[in-house]
């Protein structure tokens, strides 16, 4: 049997190389996402049982609906008021927890041709109406 163990080492080597490659790609991708482009617009997002509130830079507040402009870069500053929620726009892969006592940030560039209506939802269990903690994202031209 002994000499066959070499195959196992070759195989382990292949698995490890594959993982290093995956890890490096992931690290690089995450790094790109980490740098928020300079010309962004900041939106303050607050989650509470069981609705979302949005505050624009000019102080205008919206509840349950968020109006954004196509082609712009937005940075969301997200927090939770009562329990932990998670701010999620599935269509644009925006997702981060809304944690009481913390502000988490995430950014997104809305493509030029993305005019339309999208779903905003909560993705962290937050009690009775978690399933229905949704809001509307309206992307305008």
């Amino acid at each position: 049997m002994g000499s066959h163990v070499i195959y196992e080492w070759i195989y382990v080597g292949a698995v490890v190389s594959l993982l290093i490659w995956v890890g490096a790609e992931a690290w690089y991708g995450e790094k790109l996402l980490h740098e928020v482009p300079k010309d962004h617009i900041t939106i303050k997002v607050t989650g509470q049982q069981w609705f979302w509130t949005f505050e624009h830079p000019d102080g205008k507040r919206e509840v349950g609906t968020l109006h954004l402009k196509a082609g712009k870069v937005y940075k969301f500053e997200i927090t939770g008021k009562d329990v932990i929620h998670a701010f999620n726009i599935p269509h644009f892969a925006v997702m981060i927890d809304a944690v009481p006592g913390r502000i988490n940030t995430i950014w997104v560039k809305i493509p030029e041709d993305a005019v339309g209506e999208y779903l905003i939802q909560c993705r962290e269990y937050c009690g009775l109406l978690h399933y229905n903690m949704r809001a509307n994202l309206i992307v305008e031209a």
């Binding site: 890890g23 690290w27 932990i84 599935p90 944690v99 006592g101 993705r123």
Partner: protein, 507 residues
């Protein structure tokens, strides 16, 4: 042969016994009962999700309680007691000792699980099995959440007592003629997971006390208004429960090592590689806990560290798979039920392993985290691999426990329903997660694709349900009426079966 069905013993003799096979039997019966109860809850959940809006459960409150109790039951009242059951049966036999090191402590550990289970099932909490604060401390209704906390506390203590007992039995009571490097890999798996239990569990035990005092309002560990931090709980929780997922998995890996060489009629490809993979994983398993928290707002450096820690644990699982394949390679495989379940389990292990790698790939976790994808991932592992190998192993031990043989034909029916069902449910869940469906929801967006995928998942769940109904019927019927087994080699694979011994007198 332990429950001598032909010559029954009074029930109280088994209940009050401290003999390892009796305690093992209690553990096994308990775990199977809870597998069925937890399964009934799962079918209820899937039925509710068959259509958008109310299907059978009128409100989200009941639904939330059902999935909380389902998750808690499956992890702590099915997987863990089953491991203790098989460990109790086999570890003393495999290390050639007359019993566990501390037989009375062993019985105490079992009997602690009973009030623990009762608290969970009578309380009916809605905190989810992770009980994240501030929901669990400020909003979750009492007394359900308090009962859940105490239930887990008792179960945790019972696990720690069990782990100490296994470690001492293996290290101190092993027969002097049996070197550690010749001891069965199943014993190794119990040894490393017991050590992991001792290292991992105290953290969660502390976190439970903190949850409780926070609930009482006398402390604010997790309350930002009092200077606490809810994320601190998640670190404590996952420091215990990421290693714990290996505590669930490794005994199944050890059982696969027991079965594969026997049913392939070939020696194990590399015993040494199995030991190395166990020991390394038990250490590296502690370096990845925060991969469950990638969306909580960790810094870039923290995320990188935990991604590396997670990926570093993958080669060990890959080594086990290689070892199994190489052992089967060129063997004369006997496809009896135990082997079918092991092979099915290994096939599903690939899917869940690959899915896990996707989860930890940083930018992708934002797509999968807290969606049904994650539910698909861990069920592929816990149902597809862990529970499959457990059920296969139960078939293997059936003659040892009952002195009888199970019906291979029914076991085959059980296997195919369970296998096809599992593949369907959890694949559909992965996909519906990619469509953005969050986990832990009583209702979903009525989009045609999402509805269709949910219905496929529900049909798959019913197939598993049919398989499990056959399983339980078989277990009951054949332990009473099965034909007597050939106790030297019940499976006709030319291997000596476990050292068949009459029960020794009571302690």
């Amino acid at each position: 042969m332990v429950i001598e069905i032909a010559k029954p013993r009074p029930l109280w003799q088994i209940l009050f016994s401290t003999h390892h096979t009796d305690v093992a039997l209690l553990y096994l019966i308990t775990s199977i009962v809870f597998l069925m109860l937890g399964g009934a809850l799962a079918l209820t959940i899937r039925t509710e999700l068959l259509t958008p809006g109310t299907t059978i459960i009128g409100d989200a409150d009941l639904f939330n309680r059902i999935f909380t109790v389902h998750g808690t039951t499956m992890l702590f009242l099915w997987v863990l007691p089953f491991i203790s059951g098989v460990g109790n049966y086999l570890v003393p036999i495999l290390v050639k000792y007359k019993d566990m090191a501390y037989p009375r402590l062993n019985a105490v550990a079992y009997w602690m699980a009973v009030p623990g289970a009762a608290l969970i099932w009578l309380g009916w909490s809605d905190t989810t099995w992770m009980a994240y604060p501030p929901y669990s401390t400020m909003r979750a209704a009492g007394p359900a959440a308090d009962m859940w906390i105490f239930g887990l506390k008792i179960l945790g203590l019972s696990s720690i007592l069990g782990a100490i007992n296994f470690i001492v039995t293996i290290l101190k009571c092993k027969h002097p003629d049996l070197p550690m490097m010749k001891t069965s890999l199943f014993v190794w798996s119990i040894l490393v997971t017991s050590m992991m239990t001792l290292a991992a569990l105290p953290t969660f035990t502390a976190a439970l006390i903190m949850l409780y005092t926070d609930r009482l309002g006398v402390s604010g560990f997790f309350d930002p208004a009092r200077g606490g931090d809810p994320i601190a709980y998640q670190h404590l929780f996952w420091f215990t429960f990421h290693p714990e997922v290996y505590i669930f998995l490794l005994p199944a890996v050890g059982m696969a090592y027991e079965l594969i060489p026997k049913f392939s009629r070939k020696p194990i490809f590399s015993y040494g590689s199995g030991v190395i993979a166990f020991v390394l994983l038990s250490i590296i398993g502690f370096a990845s806990w925060a991969h469950h928290m990638l969306a909580t707002g960790l810094t870039f450096t923290e995320k990188t560290v935990f991604m590396i820690g997670t990926l570093a644990a993958v080669p060990m699982s890959a080594m086990h798979v290689f070892n199994w394949m190489a052992t089967m390679w060129g063997g004369r495989i006997k496809f009896a039920a135990p082997m079918k379940f092991v092979i099915g389990g290994i096939m599903l292990f690939f899917t869940s392993g690959a899915g896990g790698v996707v989860n930890t790939t940083l930018p992708l976790d934002f797509i999968t985290h807290d969606t049904y994808w994650v539910v698909g991932h861990f069920h592929m592992m816990l149902m597809g691999t862990v529970s499959f190998i457990f059920m296969g192993f139960l078939y293997y031990m059936f003659p040892l426990i009952t002195g009888r043989m199970y019906s291979e034909r029914l076991a085959n029916v059980h296997f195919w329903f369970a296998f096809i069902g599992t593949a369907l449910v959890f694949t559909a869940m992965h996909i519906v997660g990619l469509y953005g469906m969050p986990r832990r929801v009583w209702d979903y967006v009525p989009d045609p694709t999402i509805i269709a995928l949910n219905q496929i998942a529900t049909i798959g769940a019913y197939l598993i349900g049919i398989g499990m109904a056959v399983f339980i019927a078989l277990l009951i019927r054949d332990s009473v009426k099965g034909k007597p087994a050939d106790m030297r080699d019940p499976f006709g694979i030319g291997e000596i079966y476990y050292d068949y011994r009459r029960r020794e007198p009571h302690h």
